[in-house]
Amino acid sequence: MKRRDFLKSVSGLAAGAALPMAPAVMSSAKADARSETLLIVSEGGPNNLDIHGVGTNVPGYEVSWNCYDRLIGHEMKSGPGGVPYYDRDKFRPELAEDMTIGDMSATFKLRKNAKFHDGTPVTAKDVKWSLDRAVSVGGFPTFQMSAGSLTKPEQFVVVDDYTVRVDFLKKDRLTIPDLAVIVPCVVNSELVKKNASEKDPWGLEYTKQQTAGSGAYKVTKWTAGTEVIMERNDDWVCGPLPKIKRVIWRMVPQAGNRRALLERGDADISYELPNKDFQEMKSNGKHTVISLPISNGIQYIGMNVTKPPFDNPKVRQALAYAMPYQKIIDAVMFGLANPMFGAPADKATEVAWPQPTKYFTDMEKAKALLAEAGYAQGFETTISFDLNFAQVNEPLCVLVQESLAQLGIKTTINKVPGANWRTELNKKEMPLFTNIFSGWLDYPEYFFYWCYHGNNSVFNTMSYKSPEMDKLINGARDAAATGDKAAYDADVKGFVDLAFADVPRIPLYQPFVNVAMQKNISGYQYWFHRRLDYRALVKG
């Protein structure tokens, strides 16, 4: 081939390439579609459209929340920075138009005009079937229901076509709030039963692939790992008709590209960006960036209290004085977190959770405590973290490692693959680790029941057992159920004080949930589940 031919072929190629590169001319119909469509980009997408399914992931919860209705939801109040924030204590009707709470039961009157996406009316038998399903399928949904003492199908009674009664097994303050979380959603029972089989009596295979609810949106197309397309249900009656007609949710694995899409104005909303990006976007002001503390979410350093050296409270306190708290908030979180340390020494304990500890970085004090415990020369240990959250966990562990080295404590960093993390937690053998916990139900006694109680749940990652602690937690739960405020306050203060004195886990910070969106998007609401509620969003 001659040089000339070669050059010709190259320039021909370049011309061919340039042709489709020209900016796409959008027809006006497409532009209209764009103004009524919300384009969301995120790293991961749902693996199941039904929260009752086996192993449904967190993005799947978002689909469930928007495509199904529950009996009740929460009112909104003004949160930090004036952002609408769900009101833990106030409920609003969703499918139920009226709720009467009796001594040992709650009665719900259903809306008579609510219909499922296929047009069949929503009746009491659908509600019962759905709640039965939630307490029976096992796994996460059943677990979540049990958190509100909802465990048996007999608890859900059909009174008439449009009335359902929920009987309480025992008095529990969390029963009503638990009916407002994502799990007790109402499913089109006739449709699903038609598609169920003997092997799969609850029709989980069917609802995995399509939504069978009455919610404000319905999934019209789902390509796993690529996109979810949702259309508005124009016949939705459980609230004001949403403004967004269509939601396109695309999975974009690269965080840098998600940011580029936002900066170029192609995507409307993104979450799951690195903290650094959120902080930069916040300061350059081209987008709305919402950062709100995660209700009862705490990142902590846990210590296995069943084995030396961490069975000694003095060692644990020494570590609590050796944490590079402020460095972690500045360098790892880029300021997007509330400190959970350094409360003034004379500050009284509050009846609230989370609240900061009185620990702060003081290496001299840490050294003294360590010497008192008989470890003046330090010791060797391993700090483990979940690689799925390496972006935060890895620099955090490196900072902790550096800081502990000053006490003569040699730490090796153990990176645990995400698929293996829960298995490792369940074994309860890791001596030192960092982890995060946040519950949907935002009550101090709920958090402590899972994280500090001697029944040793998977979240009591430290294997911490203390009869005194159990007494205080049980006391607070009972007091909450009967409404004995004085006893409740005393018990909550008691277990917070004990948790801080014994420090089986060292609270570091309360992280923020961050969402970046275009300036023309409004109506964002913070929910306990921290996912988007499309029903309230407005574009333009």
Binding site: F6, N47, T56, T223, P253, N426
Partner: protein, 337 residues
């Protein structure tokens, strides 16, 4: 010929069986526990056991393997837990996406690398030879995700020439009717010019990324192979007989230099198909590479097994095609079992 092909395929069966066994065992040897992973963050030990039972992971390994092979014989590759879809369907949907991207990338790469290699060989030490060296060295030394990100940054973010890196089509276009699974071809069949343009413009950056990366082996191999052929005696004879330089280079030398190039091409193709994970990640491309890696991270067995098996089958077929091509290019090569 047909008998020979059949014989070759028959020989591939034991290696495929081996692949099935090895991938089965390897996925089981992964450290993660899928039951704990999919039981969710709030699972109790009982909940994990319930999930394990549902997934059939409580059975002995031999029984699990038996079930797997029986399903496999029925063409059922199992279901993915991460995406919730049958693996066979997913691979069928995703393979064309990867193949379309890889083929286009390879086409671009060949269109540049072959002339470059030939020119470099005919004029060793000239500027074009140096260009060839610089381009190929740069191509291999830049990691694909880096090239991809730079291209996105320049052509999408800075210049705005390229569409958003959002997969195979613009968000507001719908895919053409599925015939081949290749959007370019399907759009042409459907006569949908807009979809064709959109699909092509989405393809350019990722294909260019792959081309830059695969340029090096092809260009280097072409150059080396051409150099050795050009110094051989039949070329000297041809030149001495007064044939024009272009006839000597193109008709005689190039054809003889093709064999190693074809081998390299097949290797590059199969390597790219599996290894363009990073490109797929950068461009949110719904291909099989990213699918397999995501499954691996979640210790989701079925897709990993399906992926390895698909790749193994493709290697077998590809090798066969290459062997047949050898015979076409060089009649002296005999296709033997």
């Amino acid at each position: 010929m047909i008998a020979l092909i059949a014989k070759r395929l028959a020989f591939a069966i034991p290696s495929l069986i081996g692949v099935v066994i090895v991938t089965f065992l390897l996925t089981r040897a992964l450290p993660g526990d899928p039951a704990a992973y999919f039981a969710g963050p709030a699972a109790t030990k009982e909940a994990v056991e319930q999930i394990r039972k549902k997934l059939g992971f409580d059975k002995p390994l031999v029984e699990q393997f038996f079930r797997y092979t029986v399903d496999l014989a029925h063409g059922d590759l199992g279901s993915s837990l991460t995406t919730g879809q049958p693996v066979a369907t997913e691979i069928r949907n995703r393979l064309p996406a990867s193949a379309e991207l890889t083929l286009l990338g390879l086409l671009v790469s060949v269109a540049i690398a072959l002339p470059l290699g030939v020119l470099a060989a005919t004029r060793p030490g000239s500027w074009i030879d140096h260009t060839c060296r610089v381009v190929t060295t740069a191509g291999v030394s830049l990691p694909v995700f880096f090239t991809g990100l730079v291209l996105v940054y320049v052509f999408y973010f800075r210049l705005g020439w390229s569409p958003a890196p959002l997969g195979r089509l613009d968000v507001f276009y719908s895919a053409p009717n599925n015939v081949t699974g290749f959007y370019l071809i399907d759009a042409l069949i459907a006569g949908d010019g807009e979809a064709f343009r959109s699909a092509l413009s989405q393809l350019i950056l990722p294909a260019a990324t792959l081309a830059i990366f695969s340029l090096a082996p092809i260009a280097r191999m072409t150059r080396a192979s051409m150099l050795s052929v050009l110094s051989s005696e039949f070329v000297r004879t041809a030149r001495a007989s007064g044939l024009s330089p272009s006839t000597v280079t193109v008709t005689y030398a190039f054809r003889n230099a093709m064999l190693p190039v074809i081998t390299t091409l097949s290797m590059v193709f199969s390597f790219l198909l599996g290894a363009n994970v990073l490109v797929e990640k950068v461009f949110a491309w719904p291909g099989i590479g990213s699918y397999a890696v995501e499954a691996l991270i979640a210790s989701d067995f079925a897709p990993v097994q399906g992926f390895v098996l698909t790749m193994a089958v493709m290697y077998v077929v590809l090798n066969l095609v290459i062997d047949i091509l050898y015979g076409v290019i060089d009649p002296r090569v005999r296709l033997e079992g």
